[in-house]
Structures are given as structure tokens and as C-alpha cells.
């Protein structure tokens, strides 16, 4: 396809990373369900292993179908490349493990998905990686928490579940002043709503299980590198990132930042992280996520449109104490949202019911269209009670720090007719009020 200018988002969502299959002419991306790839010769095999030639060896490390997904998400995010992983959690772990080890430290937002909080607070601390949690909007707290052994700052574009808007430009500047990268979880916003690299973030990941896939069928993650963080310069000044800037005996004595000026992080993530930890994505999963990506622009527009209608309904309902959606002027990050999220704030938000915990249960059980389950970003509308599910391991104080009350209910608005969703909520609220 000669003569490309800079393709737009919708075009990239359909074409980036893929062309008709040269062997068969297949127009859609083929699913390469194979563990391994035949070498042309012993010399070819040695060249692939030694990174003298590019290509696929074994599907734990790379696969042609996964590569299309990786390139496509990188293209949509204006990144330099990506690594597909078994889950969003695996992507977060891979991001951390690539540059951190025992003795390292992370500064993270306190408004995180419960699973991410668990990984950082409980699990990684067992392996010697400590995390200090700070309120996402408290820049002084972020600054004060940085130590010589800190390896990154980390937050969610929209914090879970209060939708705190991460001030990426401010935190990126703070991180860069300290020779640190800023990693963000971009799951709730997707590149259609916000491209964190445009605001200064250096690394991002998605739980592709959510909006990127969009159909609630597969678990997967994608870790994307902007290619903009200068690991060499940061190491010269701070001594921090020798994992990427010194010879690594675990892979041919390679200095990753010499091999690729802008792809060093991803080289190590793939050549060490996928190889040794092995949390790779199935090609079948990659294909299903690609199917979702092709309609991401259409779906996100509808998700946001429906969410706005539902938010407006709930905000005016007498049984609702508050709605936490940054497009509302009552949200503490409303101004920041207008600046960073002009297309909208997604379709996941929480609200607080007036009434008892029992009324909350009645409300959820009365819903007919909304499904009560632990997921978000599905084409179907979903509902959950965070305090008893996603965040149940957190004590009351930690819950409060994360902005969650005992009566908080989280909705993920799908693609149904908005009127039907509002009718469903109306009916459930009425049932709760009668109790």
C-alpha cells in the first residue's frame, strides 16, 4: 500500500500491523496456532537466537498473530512497540520485572484496581520490591515518596473505582525530573479517549480483556513502550537502569539500549520477561482481541454516549446520594478531565445509594439487563459491589483511601439501548426503595 500519509485512528484500528497473508491471500489476520517455527537451516536458527535476524522461534516469545496485535495497539497509542501478555496483571508484572528487582521501590497511586494493589502491596513485597501508595492528586506526596531506589511512578488514567483523573502531564514532569519513567494503566480510557504518551507517560499497559477486546470473551494484556524514555541518560545521572544499559549475561551479554535506542525496554521485556516468566498470550486470544480492536472507535463512542445518559439519570434520582463521573462538575477532577479527556470519561463509574447495605443488595439483585459480575469494559452492561468483591481484601481505612464506601456500586455501561438500561436501573432503584 504505497503512498501513506499518517493514517488516522480508525484506519490504524483496522490495518496497522496486518496485510493480506502472503502465503494464502487471506485478508483477515490468520490465527497462527503453532508452538514453533521451522528454521531454514542451522545457520538461520543460530541467527534468530542471536538476534542477527528478526523472526519467530517459539510462541511463548513471539507469534505472528500476536505481533499484529502488538503492532496495532502500539500504533493506536503512538508507541514504538508492544508485548502481548496473558493478562493485564501479567503486563503490569512484566513492566515492573523488566526494570525492578529486590531492593527496588515503586511510587503508586492509592486508587488502583484491587488486583494491582494486591500485586504491589502484598506479592511483590515478598520478592523485595516495595511500593509507597499516595493519593493520585497529591503531587507533593508523589515527590516526597521518591527514593534513590525508586524505579517508576505508576497510576491509572482513571483510578478504580472513583475515577480519579491522573494528572499525567504533572506526574510525568515530576518523574522525568527524577530520571524515572511514568507507567500508566490505560485500561479504562483506551487510546480512543486518551493517549497517555501524548501527555508525557513513558510506558502503559492495558487489560485487553476490557474495552480492547470488548466482548467479554478473553483474558489478555498489552504492554506498550513510547520509546521516548532515555534509559542511558537516566542511568548516567542516577545509576538506576543498569538492566537495560549494561551487558546482560542472561542474553548473549547484550546491552539492550545499544541494540535498540528506542526499543531497549521491550527487547528485555520479551527476551527475558516472556522467555523466563512465560506469561504469554495465546494466538487465539490475540485474534479475538484484534476482532474487538477493529470496532474500538465505534464501540467507545457508543459506550460514552450511553454512559452520559445513564449518569444523567442517576444524578437526578432521589435514591442516589452521589455519582462519581468526572464529566459532572461535582467530581473533584472535573477540570482535569475536561483537559485530558475531551472525548469523554469512559463508561465505567460508581455511585452511592442512599440507604442500607441490604438495600444495595436488593438493588443489584433486581437488575435484569445489568449482569452482576467481576469485569468491566464488556459490550454488555455490568454491575458490581467493590467492597465485597474486587476490593474485599482491603480494610476500611484502605477502602476509604481508595474512595470506596460500603454502599458504592460500580457500573460498566455497555452497548444496549440506553433507554432499556435506564428502565432497568429505575426498576431496581424502586425495588431498593421499597425494602
Amino acid at each position: 500500500m504505497p503512498g501513506y500519509g499518517n493514517p488516522g485512528f480508525d484506519t490504524l484500528a483496522l490495518h496497522a500491523g496486518a496485510a493480506p497473508d502472503p502465503a494464502t491471500g487471506a485478508r483477515a489476520v490468520p490465527i497462527h496456532l503453532t508452538t514453533s517455527f521451522v528454521f531454514e537451516s542451522s545457520e538461520h536458527a543460530a541467527s534468530l537466537f542471536n538476534m542477527e535476524r528478526s523472526g519467530h522461534v517459539y510462541s511463548r516469545i513471539s507469534n505472528p498473530t500476536n505481533a499484529v496485535l502488538e503492532e496495532r495497539v502500539a500504533a493506536l497509542e503512538d508507541g514504538s512497540g508492544a508485548v502481548a501478555t496473558a493478562s493485564g496483571q501479567a503486563a503490569l508484572h512484566l513492566a515492573i520485572a523488566t526494570i525492578a528487582g529486590a531492593g527496588s521501590h515503586i511510587v503508586a497511586s492509592s486508587a488502583l484496581y484491587g488486583g494491582s494493589h494486591n500485586l504491589l502491596h502484598f506479592t511483590l513485597s515478598r520478592f523485595g520490591i516495595e511500593t509507597t501508595f499516595v493519593k493520585p492528586g497529591d503531587v507533593d506526596a508523589w515527590r516526597a515518596a521518591i527514593r534513590p531506589e525508586t524505579k517508576m511512578l505508576f497510576g491509572e488514567t482513571l483510578g478504580n473505582p472513583g475515577l480519579d483523573v491522573l494528572d499525567i502531564p504533572t506526574l510525568a514532569a515530576l518523574a522525568h525530573d527524577h530520571d524515572l519513567p511514568l507507567l500508566v494503566d490505560s485500561t479504562f480510557t483506551t487510546p480512543w479517549l486518551m493517549k497517555p504518551f501524548d501527555h508525557g507517560a513513558d510506558l502503559l499497559y492495558h487489560s485487553a480483556t476490557k474495552f480492547l477486546s470488548g466482548h467479554g470473551t478473553v483474558i489478555g494484556g498489552v504492554l506498550v513502550d513510547s520509546g521516548r524514555f532515555d534509559w542511558d541518560a537516566a542511568t548516567r545521572r542516577s545509576g538506576r537502569f543498569t538492566e537495560l544499559t549494561r551487558a546482560y549475561e542472561g542474553f548473549h551479554g547484550m546491552v539492550f539500549s545499544e541494540e535498540s535506542t528506542v526499543g531497549a525496554f521491550l527487547l528485555r521485556a520479551r527476551r527475558e520477561g516472556l522467555r523466563d516468566f512465560g506469561a504469554s498470550m495465546s494466538p487465539h486470544t490475540a485474534w479475538l482481541i484484534l476482532q474487538g480492536l477493529e470496532t474500538l472507535p465505534l464501540r467507545m463512542a457508543r459506550h460514552v454516549e450511553n454512559a452520559r445518559k445513564v449518569v444523567a439519570f442517576l444524578a437526578a434520582h432521589e435514591m442516589v446520594a452521589s455519582v462519581g463521573y468526572p464529566e459532572l462538575e461535582t467530581h473533584p477532577d472535573h477540570a482535569l478531565a475536561k483537559r485530558l479527556l475531551p472525548r469523554g470519561c469512559g463508561s465505567i463509574f460508581s455511585f452511592d445509594l442512599r440507604g442500607s447495605r441490604a438495600q444495595g443488595r436488593t438493588f443489584i439483585e433486581a437488575l435484569r439487563i445489568f449482569s452482576h459480575l467481576a469485569n468491566v469494559g464488556d459490550c454488555r452492561s455490568l454491575v458490581i459491589h467493590p467492597a465485597s468483591t474486587t476490593h474485599f481484601r482491603m480494610d476500611d481505612a484502605a477502602l476509604a483511601r481508595a474512595g470506596i464506601g460500603p454502599g458504592t456500586i460500580r457500573l460498566s455501561i455497555g452497548l444496549e439501548d440506553a433507554d432499556d438500561l435506564i428502565d432497568d436501573l429505575k426498576r431496581a432503584l424502586k425495588a431498593a426503595a421499597k425494602r
Binding site: 528478526s54 505481533a67 502500539a74
Partner: protein, 274 residues
């Protein structure tokens, strides 16, 4: 590998990638010269292959690019001299010279200065004259990042360069843009885009240089190259009696078609006395 290299602005430290093995001047040497707003990392697959197949490899960062110190040099002639000084500093008596785009002109100029030391000349994604439009210069002076985006788009012929570079999962448009931006940002107070493209645009000694080149020459061109069109190579090819290989890709040949470029360079160097 770091070397002290004499240039028109004095002696400065230069960096050269050696393909993952220590440089051994007793082996046949191949020097890879990058183009505008690039550094050695556009060559790492090729460089590793040659370094692990009986060659000594030098893929330098040109002055003012990447890890090499000193200000960017202002002409192809000065850069040709600098390349020869680098080879001398490394102890390489003879070398095959492989260049991409602006680097191909530097390789040509170096080969013309020391005809007996150049064992082969490979010019990838080349054209002569390598004219740059006034509109692009104007754009670069006003908004260099926008000009980088334009050049990046024109450098690629596909949204699906396989098997990608330097490995699967890399988005070629994004990684090239990041590299060009990194080089631009590495020279605060200068506009490296304008400097590099002025080096290409102002070079007018190509045919004269070609008349002095004694080694076999190969052109490796992209049939969909919108930066240096294959149609702009006829006079230079005739003057150099060059063999020409045309590959199905754009200007970013090494990243869009890494295997095909490897095979073409191997073929070009196999015929050379190294």
C-alpha cells in the same frame, strides 16, 4: 566501542556499535553509516550478522547523533573525512562501506577519497542529487516535530513491515519516529533536522566522487521509496558502474525488509575483495 576521532572541530569521542563482538581489525571490516536523524541502531541486525560471520563491524553514531560527541558536521565531504578518521582510529586498514540515505553519500565520499582502502561500496536508499524541498525545510524550521512526522510517513511503504525490526512487536512507524525525535532532542539549541537535510541537499560532488571510486558498487533501492526515488539514481549508477537491486519496500529498507537487505548486502560483499 568508543574511539577518539579527529574531525574538523578537533578530537571528539565517537561511539561505534560492533555487532555484539569486540572489534578485531585483523578481520575484513564492514562500516555501516546511518542517515539523517538516525543512529547506529538502524543497523543492529545487519551488524550482528556480519560480526558473527567473520567480519569486524563498525556502525558509528555520526557526530552530534546518539552517543557520539561533537557538533553535527555540515557537509558530506566533512563526514566522509570523519568516517575515514574513525576507521583509522579503529585500526581498520581497509573496509567495505555501507550507507543508508545520507549515509550512502558519506560512504561514497569516503570511498572516493581512499579508493584502495574501500573494498566495496553499498548505497542503500540512495539518490543523487539528494534534493530536499523548500517546503520541507520551511516546515522543519517552523515545527521540526511535524516535519519528522512527514518524513516518517514518507519513509514507510507499509503498515505491516514483517517480521519487524529489530524483532516482532515493534511498530516501525512509531519506533522510527521515536528515534528521529530522540536525535532531534539530543541537540538542544540546534535544529538537527535542518542540519542533516541540508547536508543531503547541498552535496554536489557526487559524480566527481564517483569517478574516483575503484571498488565494486551496489545500489539497494526500495521500489516504493518516496524519499529517494529509484528514478533519481541513473546518472550516479552509470558513473559508478553500480549493480542495482530493487526491493519491494520504501525508504526504510533495513526495517521494512531486514532479511532482503541482509541477503542483498551479503551478495554485494561476497563479490568484493575484503
Amino acid at each position: 566501542m568508543r574511539l577518539e576521532v579527529d574531525g574538523p572541530q578537533g578530537r571528539h569521542e565517537a561511539y561505534a556499535y560492533t555487532g555484539g563482538k569486540p572489534f578485531d581489525a585483523t578481520l575484513p571490516t564492514v562500516a555501516f553509516v546511518h542517515g539523517a536523524l538516525h543512529d547506529h541502531s538502524v543497523w543492529t541486525l545487519l551488524a550482528r550478522w556480519f560480526a558473527h560471520h567473520g567480519h569486524a563491524v563498525l556502525a558509528p553514531d555520526l557526530p552530534g547523533h546518539g552517543r557520539s560527541a561533537g557538533a553535527p558536521l555540515a557537509s558530506v565531504e566533512a563526514l566522509g573525512d570523519w568516517l575515514l578518521a574513525l576507521l583509522s582510529a579503529a585500526g581498520a586498514a581497509r573496509a567495505a562501506l555501507v550507507g543508508h540515505s545520507m549515509g550512502s553519500l558519506i560512504a561514497l565520499e569516503a570511498a572516493s577519497h581512499t579508493p584502495r582502502q574501500a573494498t566495496a561500496l553499498v548505497m542503500i536508499g540512495t539518490a543523487y542529487p539528494m534534493s530536499v524541498s523548500k517546503a520541507l525545510f520551511d516546515s522543519a524550521r517552523g515545527d521540526a516535530l511535524a516535519a519528522i512526522d512527514s518524513v516518517n510517513a514518507f519513509s514507510h511503504s507499509t503498515l505491516a513491515g514483517k517480521p519487524s525490526y529489530p524483532g516482532p512487536g515493534m511498530w516501525l512507524h512509531g519506533s522510527n519516529r521515536a528515534l528521529m525525535r530522540r536525535m532531534q532532542a539530543g541537540q538542544p539549541g540546534r535544529n538537527l533536522f535542518v542540519d542533516d537535510f541540508e547536508v543531503c541537499n547541498s552535496y554536489s560532488a557526487g559524480l566527481e566522487a564517483a569517478s574516483r571510486v575503484a571498488c565494486p558498487t551496489t545500489f539497494i533501492l526500495g521500489e516504493r521509496d518516496q524519499m529517494t526515488s529509484p528514478r533519481q539514481t541513473a546518472d550516479l549508477a552509470r558513473a559508478l558502474r553500480a549493480s542495482t537491486i530493487v526491493l519491494p519496500c520504501g525508504h526504510a529498507l533495513m526495517t521494512e525488509a531486514p532479511d532482503a537487505v541482509l541477503m542483498a548486502v551479503r551478495g554485494a560483499l561476497e563479490g568484493a575483495v575484503v
